[in-house]
């Protein structure tokens, strides 16, 4: 079992929790009645569980004949199904006020993603493709400089979280912040993906779907505001 992944998970939950508290203190939190912390945790839990099951099925391991493997998260969590499950859970829990719940969790979600990628420091898993850039990092015992790609991703998401929190102070139309968060989350993965070491065939198309859904949400939110005005 790769326990260091739990550190990354702790960074993610901690990042999300801090963002929720920060937003609440700024009076910039929710226009909704939902318990955001409960929804955040439950959506994350559902995403992890279903993402793991999808990864097992996708790699040819039957969850029914190898049930204990479900708990071996290091064996892989399928990004796309995990995000779909998390979003579906959030939709179910906040169905009466979905745009407001999505907006209220948007900053926390980006901060959690930033924390998750920042957790690479605890896992010694930050490095990507080789580079000669001055900030290149090397593995112990190696002379090959590499992009600290997971730190790039962490920085990108944390900056995006702060920027989105600032934007929310302008009271954008309902659903806009949530859609922007989805757009940034997917785009962040897409632009950093070429810098990650891979055996080929990464889930890039899932990121494209996420970007499409985010753009669709932004358009919907703008139209909704226009039609109300």
């Amino acid at each position: 079992m790769e326990f260091t992944l739990l550190f990354a998970a702790a960074f993610a939950v901690g990042g999300g929790a801090l963002a929720l508290r920060w937003e609440a203190a700024r009076g910039n939190a929710a226009d909704c009645a939902g318990d955001l912390w409960e929804i955040f945790l439950t959506a994350a839990f559902a995403g992890l569980a279903f993402g793991r099951l999808a990864a097992m099925v996708g790699s040819g391991v039957n969850p029914l004949t190898s049930p204990g493997d479900i708990l071996i998260i290091r064996g892989g969590v399928a990004t796309g199904p995990a995000v779909v499950a998390a979003l579906a859970t959030m939709t179910i829990l906040g169905r009466r006020e979905m745009p407001a719940v999505a907006d209220a969790l948007a900053v926390a979600a980006l901060a959690a993603l930033g924390g998750w990628h920042f957790g690479c420091l605890a896992r010694a898993a930050c490095l990507g493709t080789p580079t000669d850039l001055p900030w290149a990092m090397t593995q112990p015992g190696s002379t090959v400089g590499r992009h600290p790609v997971e730190l790039y991703a962490a920085g990108l998401y944390l900056i995006a979280a702060v920027a989105l929190a600032q934007y929310r102070k302008q009271r954008p139309s309902p659903g806009m912040a949530g859609s922007l968060a989805l757009l940034v989350a997917a785009a962040g993965r897409l632009v950093t993906e070429p810098l990650r070491p891979s055996l080929g065939g990464g889930p890039v198309w899932w990121y494209a779907v996420g970007i499409g859904a985010g753009v669709g949400g932004v358009v919907w939110a703008r139209r909704a505001r226009s039609s109300r005005a």
Partner: protein, 186 residues
């Protein structure tokens, strides 16, 4: 809790929502636990055509790597090891991708021949991996490993150990370490 995190779940509505959230979370947990409790109920894989694994010694493993003249990934596994199942499909795919540039060796430890062959039949039957049998785990110990499985040795073409990865390996780590091996080998 909601006071600190921004939501305003209060009164009967808030209580109902909290109950619903807990029910959903418990439901997911029960599904996962129920699957975990089912146990291995599938039929054993057909091992016809899979030969007994040859007994390995440290020198035979190192010599086979030197003879091939390629960097090697030596994965230590056992049929009783759940995490080994989890990483087997990844190793099988990688062995196929790097067949001409990296040797993949499966080092089966503290296992029985029938169980080891069953595991190969189920997960690694078509993968270009040479499996050997290390009944007491002495090869692993000689190479600097521990008794825990899985673990993976990344070895230079001269048979020296470049890196040891303890625990389940993921795609990015495997890709990174193979890249390091290939660059070091020139």
């Amino acid at each position: 809790m909601s006071e600190h995190f921004g939501g305003r779940a209060g009164g009967d509505g808030g209580s109902r929502q909290r109950t619903r959230v807990r029910l959903i979370r418990q439901g997911i947990a029960w599904v996962v636990l129920a699957l975990a409790a089912l146990g291995a109920c599938g039929s054993p894989a057909d091992v016809t055509g899979i030969a007994d694994l040859p007994e390995a010694s440290t020198s035979s493993v190192v010599e086979s790597i030197r003879r091939a003249g390629l960097p090697a990934v030596v994965n230590v596994w056992a049929s009783w090891c759940g995490p080994c199942r989890s990483e087997a499909p990844l190793l099988a795919a990688a062995a196929g991708d790097f067949e001409s540039s990296v040797s993949f060796i499966g080092l089966n430890v503290r296992d029985s021949q029938p169980d080891a062959k069953g595991f190969i039949a189920e997960f690694l039957a078509t993968a270009p991996i040479d499996h050997v049998f290390d009944k007491d785990g002495s090869v692993v110990a000689d190479l600097g490993g521990t008794t825990g499985v899985p673990l993976t040795f990344f070895m230079n073409p001269d048979g020296s150990v470049a890196k040891i990865h303890f625990g389940v390996i993921d795609e990015r780590t495997l890709a990174l370490e193979v890249d390091e091996l290939l660059r070091a080998a020139g």
